[in-house]
Symmetry: C2
Subunit: 169 residues, 2 copies
Amino acid sequence: MNDYQESSSPVSDSSLFIKMVVSNWELQNTRVNGLLEKLTDEQLYANVAPGRNRGIYLLGHLTAVSDGMLPLFGLGDKLYPEMESDFLRNPDSTEKEYPSVEELRSRWNQVNARLSAHFESIEPSEWFQKHASISAEDFAKEPHRNKLNILINRTIHQSYHLGQLIFLK
Amino acid sequence: MNDYQESSSPVSDSSLFIKMVVSNWELQNTRVNGLLEKLTDEQLYANVAPGRNRGIYLLGHLTAVSDGMLPLFGLGDKLYPEMESDFLRNPDSTEKEYPSVEELRSRWNQVNARLSAHFESIEPSEWFQKHASISAEDFAKEPHRNKLNILINRTIHQSYHLGQLIFLK
């Protein structure tokens, strides 16, 4: 690690990486929340573009994906495991009875509050440990597939759908 | 850094973190390229949704944003500084004469080839140095605003617009 100490920049360390990743995650959440505040429930029942997913589906999808981080990070079971079928395994369907937009807004906030509380208290070393879906053998070969990498990936995923949800404005 | 060495996970280091960020960037590029290969030039002249940006504008926008990383990373001037006005400072307009989709595809590839070549050869310590748009004073206070953070941010931005470009399929 000598090259870091010799460079003119401040010495980099794991806390710095974590801060970079968590602050980008929080920024995306802030953007999604800002949009959700502006959108009425009626707007969220509309398709983001003709023939494309409805806002309600994307809100459920983002909530289910974030909820999935709880077991991946070893934080216990999903809060809403029943959402997996509707919002992860199956496409949007007007034939299905989804939870109301009001209920989904509440679940979105619950899941994010749980994640945020964890991100504030997690020990730095934990971020670099394997997540629950990779075997110890694979992780030994691919140590970049750690918890922090999951959060980078989920941040990018959230941005993808935010780019679509913004069309509801 | 003792807590890392004591943990059961492999010792984390800066190279690992760089690999996480660069591979997420490359994954996004691969996804955009995969979509661009499938879309005809005609499809890219269409609006991604009614009243929203056209594919040609978003392709120019993503190219101009990536081109902007060259001076930020100290790699010399932008390859296409003239794109800034059309694709960064101003919204999509059918009144304007943009470069052809064919030309934009070529520029997109040029810029990405230049960035990729750099990412392969860059010294790890360079990633943690300040980028060209932050003052030394601010960087001393906010060392997470380094080059690697720019790449995380640009990866998230690219995903946002990929979520829109996909509607052209």
